[in-house]
């Protein structure tokens, strides 16, 4: 249980090479849940490896509870890691796997047994303790990986690198629930690395969105969804992505031509590169007239919802609505937005 602080941290794989991780400063509170979210190559794995000790950063420091651990190896940092592929010792039983970190540290056997039993009970692995670790299903193996990290009473943080990738969709909910319960009960800091925005948003109290080695935005999932700091975040989070339409400055307001979408311009803001954005979920169909009217280009049925692509001279927008709107391609449709749904962006950055 430790507070992790990243101080002016940056990394370039070779001197003079472009930064794989651009300079950043971040604090992760003790017992919190965090997610590093971004597409492949965004730097999240680099950050993961630096925090876990597998990589030494070329600049900056990593502090655990105020102590500089930058030069320490993984073993000395008391970090537990769960990887995409379950890492288990195949020749040992589940019980031996769980007890291994303690056995390596010379803890007396009775204490190991008690601790292993407690953790196994917690994770639902108690009936499997005597089984060879090889014979488990993928989700059970991941639980063993997780358990191995929890047996050490002084574990500073648990780092998870896309741990649910190999899990069947049906079991993912079980594992997610256990992760959340562990976090609540043991109050151990958990950091999840993923490219799946749903996973990140459901797991973490704070999501850190990264792109091209840079932290683009960090905040609560709800804030990321409602107020994306850049058009990239708006695009990356949410399915379908956020809609952005180019806007012109007219009489102190940013307006999308041909629609009723407008937002007042803050004073002194130059009028170039303006875009208005809104989320597909915030639109409501309003019959023949509304803030924006267009022709239905395509419809996608998703069961409970429908996604409607509306084309308009200003651009194509996607809207999400409950199924059964009764629209067909070629129809004309209009929608209105919730009051606070519009956001103003300039050159890709959120302004209002």
């Amino acid at each position: 249980m430790a507070e992790i602080r990243l101080q002016e941290l940056a990394h370039a794989y070779a001197p003079g090479a472009p930064h794989a991780l651009k300079p950043l400063d971040m604090t992760w509170r003790d017992g919190g849940t965090y997610a590093l979210l971004g597409p492949s190559g965004c730097g999240k794995s680099t950050m993961f490896n630096i925090v876990s000790g597998l990589l030494h950063p070329s600049e900056g420091r990593v502090l655990f509870d105020g102590q500089d651990v930058t030069r320490l190896g993984t073993g000395q940092r008391n970090i537990a890691q769960v990887f995409q592929v379950p890492v288990i010792y195949r020749s040992m039983t589940v019980g031996q796997n769980l007890g291994f970190p303690l056995a390596c540290r010379g803890v007396p056997a009775p204490r190991i047994r008690r601790r292993v039993e407690a953790i196994a009970e917690r994770l639902g692995l108690a009936p499997l303790l005597k089984r060879p670790a090889n014979a488990l299903t993928a989700d059970q193996k991941q639980l063993v990986s997780l358990g191995r990290g929890l047996v050490r009473e002084d574990v500073a943080a648990i780092l998870l690198d896309e741990p649910l990738t190999v899990i069947d969709p049906q079991q993912k909910f079980e594992l997610r629930r256990i992760l959340k319960e562990i976090n609540a009960e043991f109050r151990v800091t958990m950091v999840l690395v993923t490219h799946d925005q749903t996973e990140a948003m459901t797991f973490a109290e704070e999501v850190i969105v990264m792109n091209h080695g840079e932290v683009v935005q960090a905040g609560r999932p709800r804030d990321l969804f409602e107020r994306p700091a850049t058009t990239h975040v708006g695009h990356f989070i949410g399915s379908p992505a956020m809609n952005f339409l180019p806007a012109l400055a007219v009489a102190g307001r940013a307006v999308v031509p041909g629609t009723g979408l407008s937002l007042s311009l803050p004073d002194g803001l130059p009028a170039d590169g303006l875009m208005l954005g809104f989320r597909p979920e915030h639109a409501r169909f309003s019959g023949a007239s509304g803030a924006m009217r267009g022709r239905v280009a395509r419809l996608w049925f998703e069961g409970l919802d429908e996604i409607v692509a509306l084309s308009h001279p200003a651009g194509e927008v996607r809207l999400r609505a409950p199924a059964g709107q009764g629209l067909a391609p070629g129809d004309t449709a209009a929608f209105t937005l919730r009051d606070t749904a519009l956001r103003l962006y300039r050159n890709g950055r959120l302004v209002a």
Binding site: S40, K180, T202, H235, F301, E302, G303, L304, R320, A323
Partner: protein, 354 residues
């Protein structure tokens, strides 16, 4: 039209396919939806000729394929693992099937270059596949599958190993590319119900080697024929409530008697199962339940709860964060529930007797 009739395949005592019959029309995307191990991959491989079913028939436009080896079947396949020829450049990869077919080298390479341009890889024609990213490799595989304009196109969860956002983009690209090939029968296998419903003109539900139901997405979703079908096609999972209708009304097994006329239908006494979708459960009602997990996905919240001993899933179109372990009162909108008889079959609305 591609007709699969009564295909059965058992391997090592395990039936992978048990009497599967599917009809897929050209110019339409037929999605095969089922969990891992349901038999979708086996089915696609049987169509390709890579495995031989023990019984059943596969025919395209009336011509029986059962005797044809894979190299004589006019199929193209894109698999989960990006498979490209490592020893050939990207351009030669895509030109390969055309050259094999006997087309002159120059014409084949031109067609390949054109197709690569359409998938956005015009810059990469000289590279080897190993030098490309995952998404790009899969695009090469798709280009190669499409360039030969095979009458049957098989796609086995092609985007499952790719980044989330990339998946969305490629799905659309694929749909656009297929629009220009109107004679092609496309079969797309997936485990994601939303993807299946979204992409398919016709959705086929598969479980344990059997076809549960086939039809247009809204029909399959709106009226799943059996409990098994309802389980497969719903994401978030559908709540299945065992119930009994007695003289005095509806009694839910774990939750007790309900108000008269709760289902809004007249049903004879007996055992039933009510299928209640996650969005038809709301908070702010009389039924006590404890929160097991809250999942926020931007604009919706999916909450897993336990009411007594019964697990329930609730979908709210709002961002609410219910604390783990907190108590909520639920309202079940039973009027919207699907009713399944004791045999597991759907009792359609408007039927007066079970």
């Amino acid at each position: 039209m591609l007709v699969l009739r009564d295909l059965s395949l058992t391997e090592g005592g395990v039936p992978h396919l048990a009497g599967v019959s599917v009809e897929a029309e050209p110019g339409r995307m037929t999605t095969l939806l089922g969990r891992t191990g349901a038999g979708k991959t086996t089915l696609l491989r049987a169509v390709a000729g890579l495995v031989q079913p023990q019984s059943g028939q596969i025919s395209l436009a009336g011509a029986d394929w059962s005797r044809l080896p894979p190299w004589r079947r006019p199929v193209a396949m894109v698999t989960q693992q990006f498979i490209n020829y490592p020893h050939l450049s990207v351009l030669d990869n895509v030109a390969f099937p055309l050259i094999r077919r006997g087309e002159p080298r120059e014409a084949a390479r031109e067609a390949a270059a054109a197709m690569l341009g359409r998938v956005g890889l015009a810059q990469m024609t000289g590279r080897r596949p190993a030098a490309l990213s995952g998404g790009q490799q899969q695009r090469v595989a798709i280009a190669r599958a499409l360039v030969k304009r095979a009458p049957v196109l098989l796609l086995d969860e092609p985007f499952v190993n790719l980044d989330y956002k990339l998946r969305e983009g490629l799905r659309e690209e694929l749909a656009e590319l297929l629009q220009s090939q109107s004679g092609t029968v496309a079969l797309y296998a997936t485990t994601d119900p939303r993807e299946a419903l979204q992409m398919g003109d016709c959705t086929v539900l598969i479980a344990e080697g059997r076809v549960l139901q086939a039809g247009p997405p809204c029909a399959v979703f709106g009226a799943p024929a059996t409990l098994a079908a309802a389980r497969v096609v719903n994401d978030p999972p559908i709540n299945l409530l065992a119930a009994e209708i007695t003289q005095s009304g509806l009694v839910l097994d774990h939750l007790g008697p309900q108000s008269a006329g709760a289902t809004g239908r007249a049903l004879p006494p007996g055992r039933y199962t009510l299928g209640l979708r996650a969005e038809d459960i709301r908070s702010g009602g009389p039924l006590p339940a404890r929160v097991a997990l809250t999942e926020v996905s931007g604009s919706e919240t999916v909450t897993h709860l336990v009411a007594g001993a019964l697990p329930l899933v609730m979908l709210e179109r709002a961002v609410t964060d219910h604390r783990l372990g907190s108590e909520l009162g639920l309202m079940l909108d039973l009027g919207k529930a699907l009713v399944f008889g004791a045999d597991g079959a759907l009792i359609p609305k408007g039927a007066s007797h079970g």
